[in-house]
């Protein structure tokens, strides 16, 4: 997990003993129904420090900062800013107290231009907007930052990295004293992340800005943070200076004594024959723009090919074309040298299965039961029907129970609606369905997005197992660490094409980062 963890510390060492407390949280608690999300969390942010907040999925990091920002009301607890108790109930209150936040999900208005989005975040927004003046004002402000953003472009058309920069600019122009960032680098290339974090770090030194950043990338924590707090299941486990901590120690603080599935060894050195051949495939996006641009790729049995890339470079459309959700405009897909149009019949024949991103939306019927969802591939196959035309509910249920047990899906009630399950369990369920029929070809997109450590390693183990059993796996992911861990070969997708391809042994991380940014 720390393949990217570098060593160098930027800037001078931060000394908390001389600085005042910028923000203090005392005894913050929050419950969602019966579920405690935060239990008596107390910690301090020193002014001018770069503070990292770590924790597994569902540890309560986002809840904590949302309570501080007044986005959600806390059940108990106080927030002190500059040693004075504050009641923060809205974004405006937070702004008045000098707090700013960059949310995990983009809060840009997609149908508006960057210029309009930036003006919107100005407080107060002028009653009537003099666009010429605003444009000049913003252009001078942006010139002081290292970012270059096209102001006339619509926010919806920006790449994820550019969106993140706009989000950050929005907050910087408000000149907050304390800036909170919720996983700001999850969709950026390593270079882009360094650009943004480096600038923030510099501001902590030059402007006395205090930064609280939620991240799960140890590389960033080790390189930029002065102090670190670790949450586990709603409780604060550690809060103090970073100095003296190693990534391994932090990881242990985050996961406690939970057992983590080991990825499993790579067996079978020799490649199988070509399983999937993509020839000059082109496909349009929802807006009609060319998303996949004459892309070609061969995938062999017994190998995992990882596709890296910043989201929005055609990965989604590529996966949709392979899974039958999008009609290609041009070019063809062949499996075992036979043309493949992703019909249900062909999927069954070639044993081609798919785990798309956001599986609850893209691979499940949310209001159907677990058993029903598990049977989506098999309900009309021999063994699951009665008199050929009727569904055999009993066989479905037995099959479901078996898979639920084998893949440890929780809660283990086959009759439950799938939409009530947590993200990790939905992911496991779809994986169970797609892998149980012995897949020969597996197309997987961001399989661990939003999963915690334990669930993520479980999923990765399954993928490695499928590969070891001879399946060809196409892994499209935005998580470079995951790609480096699993892939036999890595390709980089940029603007609909593969612009880099290398076996894992010859991969150069810096080069991948540059290629992802289109250099």
């Amino acid at each position: 997990m720390n393949t990217l963890a570098g060593g160098q510390q930027t800037g001078q060492v931060f000394d908390s003993s001389h600085s005042p407390v910028a923000l203090e949280v005392i005894g913050l608690s929050k419950r969602f129904g019966a579920l405690p999300a935060l239990e008596g969390v107390s910690f301090r942010l020193w002014q001018g420090s770069f503070h990292a907040l770590l924790g597994g999925n569902g540890a309560g990091k986002s809840t904590l900062v949302k309570c501080v920002m007044g986005y959600q009301p806390a059940d108990h607890g106080t927030v002190l800013i500059g040693n004075r108790e504050c009641v923060i109930e809205s974004a405006r209150d937070a702004h008045r107290h000098g707090l700013g936040m960059v949310y995990q999900h983009f809060t840009l208005v997609p149908d508006m231009t960057v210029l309009e989005n930036l003006v919107l975040s100005r407080l107060p927004i002028p009653k009537m907007i003099a666009w010429k003046k605003e444009r000049q004002r913003l252009e001078t402000l942006i010139a002081e930052t290292p970012f270059r953003i096209p102001l006339h472009k619509k926010a919806g058309e920006l790449a994820a990295g550019e969106k993140q920069k706009v989000e950050l600019l929005k907050q910087l122009f408000l000149q907050p004293k304390i800036l909170i960032l919720d996983e700001p680098t999850s969709v950026l290339t390593p270079q882009e992340a360094d650009g943004i974090l480096g600038m923030l770090k510099e501001r902590t030194r030059s402007h006395g800005l205090t930064v609280l950043i939620i991240t799960h990338k140890f590389r960033e924590v080790m390189n930029y943070a002065d102090a670190v707090s670790v949450l586990r299941r709603g409780k604060l486990i550690y809060s103090g200076p970073l100095a003296g901590n190693t990534p391994a120690m932090l990881a242990e603080l985050m996961i406690g004594n939970e057992t983590i599935a080991r990825i499993g060894e790579r067996t079978r050195a020799e490649k199988g024959p070509v399983k999937l051949a993509i020839n000059h495939l082109s496909a349009d996006s929802d807006t009609g723009a060319l998303a996949v641009d004459r892309l070609s790729l061969n995938l062999h049995g017994g190998e995992i090919v990882g596709i890296a890339g910043v989201s929005g470079n055609g990965q989604r459309e590529l996966v949709q074309a392979l899974s039958g959700q999008r009609k290609p405009d041009q070019g063809g897909i062949c499996i075992d040298d036979l043309p493949y149009a992703a019909t249900r019949r062909e999927m069954a024949r070639f044993r081609c299965n798919c785990l798309p991103e956001e599986p609850l939306r893209n691979a499940c019927v949310p209001r159907m039961s677990l058993a029903g969802n598990l049977a989506l591939r098999t309900f009309d196959r021999p063994g699951f029907t009665r008199w050929r035309w009727f569904i055999d509910a009993k066989a479905q249920k037995e099959h479901a129970l078996e898979l639920i047990e084998r893949y440890r899906i929780h809660p283990s009630e086959p009759g439950r609606r799938i939409e009530t399950l947590s993200g990790g369990n939905v992911q496991r369920l779809v994986l169970a369905r797609e892998l149980s029929g012995q897949a020969d070809l597996l197309v997987v997109a961001n399989p661990c997005f939003g999963l915690d450590f334990a669930a993520a390693s479980e999923v990765r183990k399954q993928l490695m197992q499928a590969r070891n059993n001879g399946a060809a796996v196409l892994l499209v992911s935005e998580d470079l660490d995951e790609l480096l861990e699993l892939s036999d070969r890595i390709a980089v997708m940029f603007e609909g094409r593969l612009i880099y391809e290398a076996p894992i042994a010859a991969v150069d991380l810096d080069e991948i980062g540059l290629k992802m940014a289109g250099h």
Partner: protein, 308 residues
């Protein structure tokens, strides 16, 4: 110059005049719907606003003797229906489309109920401006006899367009309509903004109804609107949620509606009913031409329930 001298040239002229005349209700309803949809809600009930507006305008104009009071009454009635829609939709899990259909029935229903006594009497009409006084031809004069409401609508379209892109409130409406997340992060009151947009939209649609009963056809009866409110909603989709394009689309549809009478005026009587169906056929054709299952429409507000 006598009337017959125009001959077949009378057809485009009559279509132009008819387009301006028949497009007015389309224009008002579609501008109202455009504003409502920009805020992230669909109000399918504007047909009800149109009918109720027509009835209220006629009744108030008849009782007070002032057609302009009638127009205000129509707007107020439309605004009330809009308020009802906004209030119902402010509850979680309420579907705006279903509420809209219910309100369409409701609006028409109460208009018929209260409108019974006003079917017979004659109310004072809205005035028109004669732009054709220079011409000796009666046809030219009648084609350029332009009603005041159309002129007002002509002003509202660019005003709405300017409002949406140049004012704080306009940006608020668009933010709320395009991304609830963004609106939340900026601290905009989503439900209130939508309520105001829906009420203003309802007001405009009501005024469109006043045109029907107080100018053209110029009387109140139950078959007055014949689905123009619904066509206007479809027209917003065709106009890609841009007020100025709503104006052009309304003129196009008005022109299609004027095709039948225009042809009849030069003696083409065959297929009269077929030509009268032109707006409906046009709606279908345009929808087929502009919509595709493969791609999303440009300009569509992201929060609309049909987008999600």
């Amino acid at each position: 110059m006598n009337d017959s001298a125009l001959g077949w040239w009378g057809v485009p002229l009559a279509i132009l005049g008819g387009a301006i005349r028949a497009s007015t209700p389309y224009l008002f309803v579609s501008l109202g719907e455009c504003l409502t949809e920009k805020s992230g809600r669909i109000n399918l009930g504007l047909e009800g606003n149109l009918v109720l507006g027509a009835m209220s305008a006629y009744a108030v104009s008849y009782l007070s003797g002032s057609p302009w009071l009638g127009v205000l009454a129509a707007g107020a009635a439309g605004m009330l229906l809009g308020m009802l829609h906004a209030w119902l939709c402010s509850y979680p899990k309420v579907n705006d489309i279903a509420v809209g259909i219910a309100l369409m029935m409701f609006g028409a229903g109460i208009a018929f109920f209260f409108g019974k006594p006003y079917i017979q009497p004659a109310a004072p009409h809205l005035p028109a401006i004669s732009f054709g006084a220079w011409s000796g031809s009666a046809q030219v004069r009648s084609a350029l006899e332009i009603n005041v409401l159309f002129v007002i609508g002509l002003g509202i379209a660019p005003l709405l367009s300017w409002f949406l892109s140049n004012t704080r409130w306009g940006l608020m409406v668009r933010t709320v309509g395009d991304s609830r997340d963004a609106a939340g992060a900026l601290g905009f009151p989503v439900n209130s903004v939508r309520a105001v947009a829906t009420m203003t939209g309802g007001f405009l649609a009501g005024v469109g109804g006043a045109f029907l009963s107080l100018y053209y056809p110029g009387s109140w009866n139950e078959g007055l609107s014949s689905g123009q409110g619904l066509i206007a909603v479809a027209l917003v989709v065709f106009a890609h949620w841009q007020p100025m394009r709503c104006l052009y689309a309304a003129l196009l549809f008005g022109g299609a509606g004027a095709l039948g009478p225009a042809l009849q005026s030069v003696g083409v009587t065959g297929g009269y009913y077929l030509f009268n169906a032109a707006p409906y056929v046009l709606t279908l054709l345009l929808m087929m031409a502009t919509c595709s299952p493969e791609r999303t429409l440009s300009g569509i507000p992201g929060e609309l329930s049909i987008t999600k």
